[in-house]
Amino acid sequence: MNDLFNSFMSGPDESGRFGIFGGRFVSETLMPLILSLEEEYEKAKTDQSFWDQMDDLWKNYVGRPSPLYHAERLTQHLGGAKIYLKRDELNHTGAHKINNVLGQIILAMRMGKTRIIAETGAGQHGVATATVCAKFGLKCIVYMGAHDVQRQAPNVFRMRLLGAEVIPVTSGRGTLKDAMNDALRDWVTNVRDTFYCIGTVAGPHPYPAMVRDFQSIIGKEAKVQMMEAEGRLPDTLIAAIGGGSNAMGLFFPFLDDKDVNIIGVEAGGKGVNAKMEHCASLTGGRPGVLHGNRTYLLQDDDGQILEGYSISAGLDYPGIGPEHSWLHEVGRAKYVSITDMEALEAFQLSCELEGIIPALEPSHALAHVMKIAPELPADHLICMNMCGRGDKDIFTVAKHLGFDMSDTEGRVAG
């Protein structure tokens, strides 16, 4: 039984706060819409027909439940903890993003909205949104940083095939933060017919809680599956963090299981140091207000937001969902960072040992598994969220490994 007063699962409060984090820092134009979204979501939450529809789509359209897979050779190779991968990369569209998109799009339709907008970094959320919009015949516009349009070209083409309009965003450094700014600008302009489908546990209340709830299917399944496989809960959960949605989805159902260690992995880029060439908001930032919520942010002395840097477009965001900031401050979860180089190494190891080409985002999580697993006993159970597949990243990885993709002989350049 959960003790409600000591529960880590009772947030946010009615003003949308997790401790001091979260809230509703948006312009007045959006405020009425956010309140009506909250109302609609509260209604849906307790409406069995909503969840019946979600369950049906999760099963028959997404392919849930995703397997909990014992990575035997990885376990052997690292020589310590027993490693399980939660295989959300097997979902339709290749990542966890669609879990959340389905929920939001159904809500949008319940609210009578006909035009869907989304921001995307790696393109996975954009592809998921374009996919679900195609399925339901809704107009879809995706904002994507111009820099990300370049490094995630396959996903841009996918979105266009699915009938979405992809708008490259050139302001700022042309990454996820800038895409989110332009999506918010679109929303303010077209507020009456438009639903903003946010791709992570950020934004104004109720988004962080709502996205978490939709992604929690990951953790709920993992819990049942681990009980079936091992007869007990895992000892450690590990997930990568961009905005933090795949991580919140895995972590949330375990928050009150006090013996379960929880570790979030941020993008360390070229290293978490004064040069700020990373996206580790918790390890290298401090609390601030951006994109509708208070959370840890990369910022300078004047409170200007820094751009951040990561090899992984999906982690390239200077903030983090507010619930993670809270879990960090109360100490329920621990947050670490992994560099580009470490992630690339993990990427290759997963390909070689498990026949799984991971996305660069979960490669960060895997790199941390590689760090800690060897020191842990064989009966220590690790559950890592393999939240996306790496097809979208092969060009980036090829470049970093010096592999010339245009060379039909497949020679390594240089």
Partner: protein, 263 residues
């Protein structure tokens, strides 16, 4: 009574509408910006809105986004903006100054520190776009306590049910955003705006000033005819962005203020 309240009392006694101008503090650099600000009252500006540069201005269109980037590139900060205000106050102790921007730089400095410094510099009011009434305890209430006006935006999506919430802790004036959108985009239509202003005035005694989408002397005049005043921003900022000399910018401001004052 703040300088804003005094200004409206004066305008109302003279039967005049308010002309409010917006420029970005520090755009294109500190000195030019200060020279423009110093010239605004002489160009017929009743209230000066000064934009606080921010990297992520989510309610602004490209014109003001670029102005913020120019200011930041030239080394503008929140503290430098307050210095600019203090410098202006040396020669003008009556024209109200309202800072308009986003919450993070203020939060980062610390609300109490900021309010103290702003007050000392001679700031009269604040418009913080990403602080709706739901977040009043953050800055709105402390600001009123410190003797600064907190000016709220009302928008076309603020319905009658919500309007009292928006008006409750507003002071100085109410800023009616004439369009759903970002700065510098669609053009305000005085036909749509009239009934909206009346709707707001039915619920408050505060002056109602209309902004967003006003970019010509004719629009300035038309909107001044149906509200207590008008705000022009992007159209002025665009000229600064083109690198026009200070005198030319001020001449343009004069045509806008003449429009509003011809009512």
């Amino acid at each position: 009574m703040t300088r804003i309240d005094a200004k409206f009392a004066e305008l109302s006694a003279a039967g005049k509408k308010a002309f409010v101008s917006y420029i970005m503090a520090g755009d294109p650099d500190f000195d030019t910006s200060l020279a423009i600000v110093k010239g605004l009252p002489g160009a017929g500006v009743d209230i000066i809105e000064l934009g606080l540069p921010f990297t992520d201005p989510m309610a602004d269109g490209p014109t003001i986004q670029l102005a913020g980037q120019r200011a930041l590139a030239a080394g503008m900060t929140l503290d430098r903006t307050l210095e600019l205000v203090a410098d202006f106050r040396k020669s003008d102790d009556t024209t109200p100054i309202v800072l308009m921007g986003y919450y993070n730089p203020v939060y980062n400095q610390g609300v109490d520190t900021f309010l103290q410094k702003a007050r000392a510099a001679g700031v009269d009011g604040l418009i913080i776009v990403d602080l709706p009434p739901e977040e009043d305890s953050e800055l709105c209430l402390p600001a009123q306590e410190a003797g600064l006006n907190f000016i709220r935006l009302a928008t076309p999506t603020t319905d009658d049910k919500r309007l009292p919430t928006v008006l409750q802790n507003t002071s100085g004036f109410v800023y009616y955003v004439s369009i759903t959108g970002i700065t510098g985009s669609a053009e305000a239509d005085s036909g749509d705006v009239g009934p909206e202003v009346a709707r707001i005035k039915a619920q408050t005694d505060l002056p109602v000033i209309v902004g967003f989408g006003i970019n010509t002397p004719e629009k300035s005049r038309a909107i001044a005819g149906i509200a207590d005043g008008v705000v022009v921003g992007s159209a002025i900022v665009a000229l600064i962005g083109e690198g026009r000399p200070v005198a030319e910018v001020l001449d343009f401001v004069r045509t806008l203020s003449d429009g509003a004052h011809s009512i």
